[in-house]
Subunit: 406 residues, 2 copies
């Protein structure tokens, strides 16, 4: 007899049959004697339809009205899900974000949760009801509907699990769990039984987009254990939780490959105090997401800056670099090239030596040139040419003993 | 400088282009210096889509969840309408029924308005904003979303006009206004400039479905003048307001034809006190809407009851009659036939004599047989055969001098 929060994403509730399928799974959990809160997203496609209608009326729709508009997607799903559960004989009741007392700041379309009262959800659970909660939405203290940004339903699920002190939070999605590497790249990648929040965050930020980081960070902050699993099969998923001692026995938990990065070299930057700050402030203002950074001395007392940015941000980055040094711009050179970043992630790295050596050795033996390296406590990333990225990922996967059965 | 409430129905906001068209009309009103509240329905088709999805999941969806579901239709429209107005450079803000403080009783799917606080609408108007209000919806005192039943957006518009003491409420629809008769039946019917609430109610209940009666009754109760006009052209519509003296100069304001009625004859009803009550209670419990009623003495101390019901209710009516007299059912006979009801309506009837004579005389001269007659203060209805109904309507229209140009 536990309190379980289950979150089902847009593809899991995409049509009437899939809603019935989810209702059946909820019923099974309920009939095992558990209290169940179901968090749902908008049916897949609905949000995009609403956005395209909005843009047809106004190319730059107002954020507050956008939230008013987008919140209808989840509101539709909660009502339909409650009806599907009623049809299976379960007592169920739907709640909007507002009804669940999900209070956010007033930053429409990307609001942050400030506080969750839970409304009457605990009361409804105590009376034996399944509660269906609209993900992605909350309200500001003026009462306006707000939304939590992309992937916001995961955050809703984690947050309500924290507020209700749920025993488990299950994130149902279209993948089976978290793998040692992307199975499309590494066919013999293994599903992880267990992973720490930190590893999950590093894998996500390195290109494994199972869940958005904000939800994982929230889970970490409030110590919410959660499981990532598939809504289309019965396989157990991956548990994400606090790091425990035994996790350190595994040196490398997983690999991430981000094949959509670019390497930028800014040469002949004036080599004076504050020049780097000037450069990266300008990039931040232009909303360019910079990852790996290397600085080295160039010719004639000028510096070269090398860093990586998402490939889509290159032209914005170039403008930002030009505006960073207006008076010196004739000297400063901007070059960019496509690059891939392969990362190894594992909390065990902290207590094991020689981890990086295996990585470098593997790449060297296979004549794959490393262009940049960066490290953190639980991650080592290398930037290599996109052509060799998939091969490199498979070789590294094998080198760290991660290969399972195909 | 007036406060004007404008209501646009589902066909008027049916797609992106129509929403733009409405936004343009709102802009014109706003730029004349008026404060404007716009009440909108769901885009036409949206509500039916939602209902069919609900029924695919549950043939008898729960009323509370149905309201949660259906309320999304209007919420979508208010956000889109606000965006369309922003695009035209107007300051506009959307409000749900809950945000407008439309408090109802808890009878989901057919809630009645108890009270309207208006929320911050007056404040928004005072600051120069156009306020877009979701029609059809409110909330109960437990905070649950409720809906007002079919035609509920008209009611929302009249009610918010009353709460804000608006100077005018305009109901934009797909007809030009209220006509002396249905122009599809009587090609030279005239549009009325002005009509009283009572006449509007009688015309509506007699088959002219321009607006639902609840909205008109609400307007009458709170003395809200309103205008019914088209959202597709600029023609002035029909003003509906309290009866004034000059209205009595016109004896008959309009005609209504209801061609979907059935005449039911229940013969050999036991002629004892309470038998009629028993019969009509049973019909009411079966939700059969009975209109004209005639009782006369049949053979051997038994009574015959004749009444009219909507044609779709006939089989329900037959069952209700059978269950009304279980012990006498072998004697009681049930017969039904198709019938049409033509009504003349006018507040002037109260002060003019000989009104009915013109009606009977017209029908007699044209050998149209009257099967039933009923009268109220401002209405006379006759039941005739469906075959002669359209001809009769045109003849009566001419007889009362209502004909305009074709």
């Amino acid at each position: 007899m536990a309190l379980i929060v289950q979150k089902y994403g847009g593809t899991s509730v995409g049509d009437v049959d899939r809603i019935k399928n989810v209702a059946q799974r909820v019923k099974e959990t309920y009939e095992e004697g558990h209290s169940v809160v179901v968090v749902v997203s908008a049916r897949s496609g609905v949000t995009n339809d609403l956005i395209s209608r909005a843009r047809a009326l106004n190319p730059e729709p107002n954020d507050r009205e956008m939230d008013m508009l987008l919140a209808v997607g989840e509101q539709e799903t909660i009502a339909l899900m409650a009806m599907a559960l009623h049809q299976l004989g379960l007592p169920a009741v739907s709640r909007t974000g507002r009804e669940a007392g999900i209070l956010t700041d007033p930053n429409h379309t990307r609001a942050r949760i400030k506080e969750i009262s839970g409304g009457d959800i605990q009361e409804q659970l105590d009376s034996g009801k399944v509660v269906i909660l609209a993900g992605f939405q909350g309200h500001s203290d003026t009462g306006a509907i707000t939304t939590l940004g992309r992937g916001g339903s995961d955050l809703s699920a984690i947050a309500i699990a924290a507020a209700l002190k749920a025993d488990m939070c299950q994130i149902f999605t279209d993948v089976d769990g978290v793998y040692t590497a992307d199975p499309r790249v590494v066919p013999n990648a293994k599903k992880l039984k267990c992973i720490s929040y930190e590893e999950m965050l590093e894998l996500a930020s390195s290109g494994s987009k199972v869940m958005q980081n904000r939800a994982v960070e929230f889970a970490q902050k409030f110590k919410v254990n959660f499981e990532v699993r598939s809504s289309f099969n019965r396989n157990p998923g991956t548990i994400v939780k606090e790091e425990i001692k035994s996790m350190e026995d595994v040196v490398v938990s997983g690999l991430a490959l981000d094949n959509k990065q670019a390497k930028v070299v800014v040469s002949d930057v004036p080599d004076r105090p504050g020049a780097a700050a000037q450069l990266f402030q300008s990039l931040a203002q232009a909303d360019v997401c910079v990852d790996m950074i290397v600085q080295n001395i160039g010719r004639e007392g000028k510096a070269n800056m090398t860093f990586t940015v998402p490939r889509d941000d290159v032209s914005r980055a170039e403008k930002a670099v030009q505006s960073a040094f207006p008076q010196d711009s004739t000297d400063t050179q901007f070059e960019s090239s496509e690059i891939a970043i392969v990362s190894i992630v594992g909390v065990g790295m902290q207590s094991h030596s020689g981890v990086a050596a295996t990585l470098f050795d593997t790449l060297a033996k296979n004549e794959i040139n490393i262009q940049l390296v960066s490290t953190s406590e639980i991650k080592i990333s290398v930037a290599i040419s996109p052509e060799s990225a998939q091969k490199a990922t498979r070789l590294i996967h094998t080198a760290y003993g991660l290969d399972g059965d195909v």
